[in-house]
């Protein structure tokens, strides 16, 4: 190796120097890196969203010319009994399902955080409902709730918990709503449990030791140490789950198709019925965007809360 030697090559051209100079400037380099991602977002997220907004404010019908009609679709939807029912269903479904997943998720995470035999195997198994394609697993649930072959009723009757023939799970509105919520909870629970478990393992053991030394009971340790430190994780998990649950489609579509008498319809299933099956893309888009302002506010509040917790 020639120490101190200088490699003499061709002098960089003026254009090359200019590019190198630009790359050294943060004002140029930053946008250059961000642009490809921004383009993807524009094409794959912004464009469809703007199109959906336009459709929602038009009388678009599949394959026919459309006109801008302002907010008429949003107003007209309130006249529809099935839409009003769907609106109510969405809040009952999301509230009950997210609430149940939160409580059960914390419980499951606490259990998984204990020293268990076959801990890894159990943790892996817990994820199964989340891994199986939803449409497929819901089909399994459909068989379990089926009026002809319900294994749930068969077991309940065999154990003396139900009178024959047992509840008509998918044929009566409260039972049907219970059924779709139960399947959503079953499906979404692993997401809650694993995320909360990740939060639990990151809590320093010293805090528990100190609390124990101060004589704090198990429940006091949970309420005063575990829960406050889990808040940022819980906020994020609840935020995501709220959005996913509000926009759920597969479970209701496979299990009840929105019935009986529209009592389990959600925005996504009603959108399909109106926008796709009936060709009314405009009204369909309006249904799917109805909750956008509400969800945007929920996201904003929760993200503010998370920032406060973190910083």
């Amino acid at each position: 190796m020639a120490v101190g030697s200088v490699r003499v090559g061709a002098t960089p051209s003026r254009a090359g120097l200019r590019v190198r100079e630009l790359l050294d400037r943060e004002r140029f380099l930053g946008p250059a890196f961000v642009t490809p991602a921004l383009l993807l977002l524009l094409v794959l997220v912004a464009y469809p969203f703007v199109m959906a907004l336009y459709f929602a404010m038009s009388n678009a019908f599949i394959g026919r010319p459309s006109h801008f009609i302002g907010t008429r679709n949003f107003v007209a939807l309130w006249d529809s009994d099935s839409f009003r029912q769907t609106f109510q269903n969405a809040f009952v479904f999301t509230g009950s399902a997210v609430g149940s997943k939160l409580v059960l998720g914390i419980t499951l995470a606490l259990l998984l955080n204990e020293q268990l035999w076959f801990k890894r195997l159990i943790r892996g198994a817990v994820l199964l409902p989340w891994v199986i394609p939803t449409a497929l697993s819901t089909l399994g649930w459909w068989w379990m709730f089926n009026s002809l072959y319900s294994v749930v009723n068969w077991s309940g009757i065999a154990l003396g918990l139900m009178d024959p023939p047992g509840p008509n799970w998918l044929g009566q509105k409260y039972y049907a709503m219970t059924a779709v919520i139960a399947v959503n909870v079953w499906r979404g629970l692993p997401f809650f449990a694993i995320c909360i478990l990740a939060g639990l393992v990151s809590i320093p053991k010293e805090l528990y030791e100190a609390a124990e030394a101060d004589g704090a009971s198990a429940s006091a340790r949970f309420w005063n140490v575990t829960l406050p430190l889990l808040k940022p994780v819980l906020a994020i998990v609840v935020l995501f789950s709220t959005i996913f649950t509000f926009s759920d489609f597969n479970i209701v579509y496979v299990l009840t198709n929105g019935g009986p008498i529209n009592s389990t319809h959600l925005f996504a299933t009603l959108t399909r019925q109106v926008g796709l099956e009936s060709g009314q893309i405009g009204q369909g888009a309006a249904i799917s965007l109805y909750l956008f302002p509400v969800l945007a506010i929920v996201v904003w509040i929760q993200l503010r809360f998370v920032r406060r917790q973190v910083y």
């Binding site: 599949i62 394959g63 044929g171 019935g259 009986p260 399909r272 009936s278």
Partner: protein
């Protein structure tokens, strides 16, 4: 090998480039390289043998005409409709599409007029059936070619009827008499009252046989609030109470088939697939199932069926080859018959002269499928299949009205609810 001089090379390259530029500019390949090809999007038939036979026929078609054929099969409920909508929105996709029920109405502005082909077929096979006409003849123009239809037919347990000495019903009222006995025997009547299309396929004929309708012929005037609807609901209420079980409130399109095949239901209203599947799977119930003539009432004998038609997109660049395929498949009696035979009576021809089809003589239990005097209609008849009438169907207002009434809502209140919902859609 001859050496190519630099001058020759440049000359040939220039000629090639000019040729390619010409093809790209005109969008037309040279005649020698032109291969006529059509693509066809159709459903995964409930009778899979019919798809297999169609593929065979398509190969022969290519051999006979030189037109290449690509057939894509897609599941009939969700995916097919999504695909059709996407093709229309993007103005790209297949040349030919299979359209069920009132789909030709839904995509009417996008479909090529095919009156010339239908005229040829009607000349050969007789007039198109009423449901085929209602589905594909839109505002005086044929927008699709009726292909075949799958019809609903009363399906019953012959052994149970014989055992209890029950008379084969001829009217919906007769069914109540038989149904009471069937339920006592533990084999109830199975008519779905849920958010599915089979529910409408029974509710429509019952309503029509009592003289009722949802919307009038003009497609604008809602007529659901009528004494006929009240009679129909009262019939459903007593059927639900005395002849059926609450499980029908949660049934899907497949549930009545399953109930009959597993030996529970004593009578159902369904396409002949219940029996065909039982026969194919060698189920013990296959020997016990039979069919009888469609039920009627004071205002006639009606059925909803599932007419299927073939349409050609306006954006297709192969309209004439596509018409050639339709003529080949449906216009040649030997080919059409061969195709229909492969479906084992699940799908029957859509033309009058072919109603007494040889496929109905392949099994004595198909005799009831040749049903003289039965009128076949689209959902929502006598209203035309406009997008508004389709939305009334797709929102399941008719079965939901019945479901409300049989679960405790007073009849008049249930009808008033349906009327309000239908008026909202029609005036929207």
């Amino acid at each position: 090998m001859d050496r190519v001089t630099r001058r020759q090379f440049i000359g040939r390259a220039a000629a090639g480039t000019a040729g390619l530029a010409g093809i790209l500019a005109t969008g037309t390949p040279p005649a020698r390289g032109q291969q006529r090809e059509i693509s066809y999007l159709c459903w995964n038939n409930f009778a899979p043998a019919m798809d297999k036979k169609q593929n065979e026929i398509a190969q022969r078609f290519t051999k006979d005409t030189g037109i290449k054929m690509r057939i894509d099969y897609v599941s009939h409920m969700g995916p097919q409709q999504a695909k059709l909508a996407a093709e229309v929105q993007t103005q790209a996709g297949h040349d030919l599409v299979e359209l069920r029920m009132h789909f030709p109405w839904l995509y009417e502005p996008q479909l090529v007029e095919v009156g010339d082909v239908v005229a040829e077929l009607e000349k050969a096979h007789g007039k198109a059936l009423s449901s085929g006409y209602e589905a594909a003849h839109i505002k005086g123009v044929w927008r699709a070619v009726p292909m075949y239809h799958g019809l609903f037919v009363p399906t019953y347990r012959e052994d149970l009827f014989k055992k209890a000495g029950l008379k084969i019903p001829d009217t919906w009222e007769d069914l109540y008499t038989a149904g009471k006995e069937l339920k006592k025997m533990g084999n109830p009547v199975g008519i779905p009252i849920a958010q599915n299309y089979d529910s409408i396929s029974t509710a429509g004929p019952v309503l029509w046989s009592f003289g009722g309708m949802e919307v009038d012929k003009d497609g604008q005037t809602v007529r659901i609030n009528s004494p006929a609807t009240e009679q129909m609901i009262e019939w459903y209420k007593k059927m639900f109470r005395d002849c059926m079980e609450p499980e029908v409130l949660s049934w899907t399109d497949a549930s009545n088939n399953e109930s009959m095949q597993q030996g529970k239901a004593g009578w159902i209203h369904n396409p002949v697939s219940t029996y065909i599947v039982a026969k194919q799977r060698k189920l013990p119930t296959a020997d016990l199932i039979n069919h009888h003539r469609s039920l009627g009432g004071a205002h006639g004998r009606h059925e909803t069926d599932v007419p299927r038609a073939m349409g050609i997109w306006k954006f297709s660049k192969n309209v004439e080859p596509a018409k050639e395929w339709i003529r080949y498949l449906l216009g040649k009696p030997e080919v059409y018959n061969e195709w229909i035979m492969s479906a084992d009576a699940f799908n029957l021809p859509s033309y009058e002269k072919l109603q007494d089809h040889p496929v109905l003589r392949t099994d004595p239990k198909y005799a009831a499928l040749s049903a003289p005097g039965v009128q076949y209609h689209l959902y929502g008849w006598p209203a035309p299949g406009t997008d508004k009438v389709q939305r009334i169907t797709n929102e399941f207002i008719l079965p939901n009205m019945i479901a409300k009434a049989v679960t405790g809502t007073p009849t008049k209140e249930a009808i008033a609810w349906a009327e309000k919902e239908m008026k909202r859609i029609v005036s929207g």
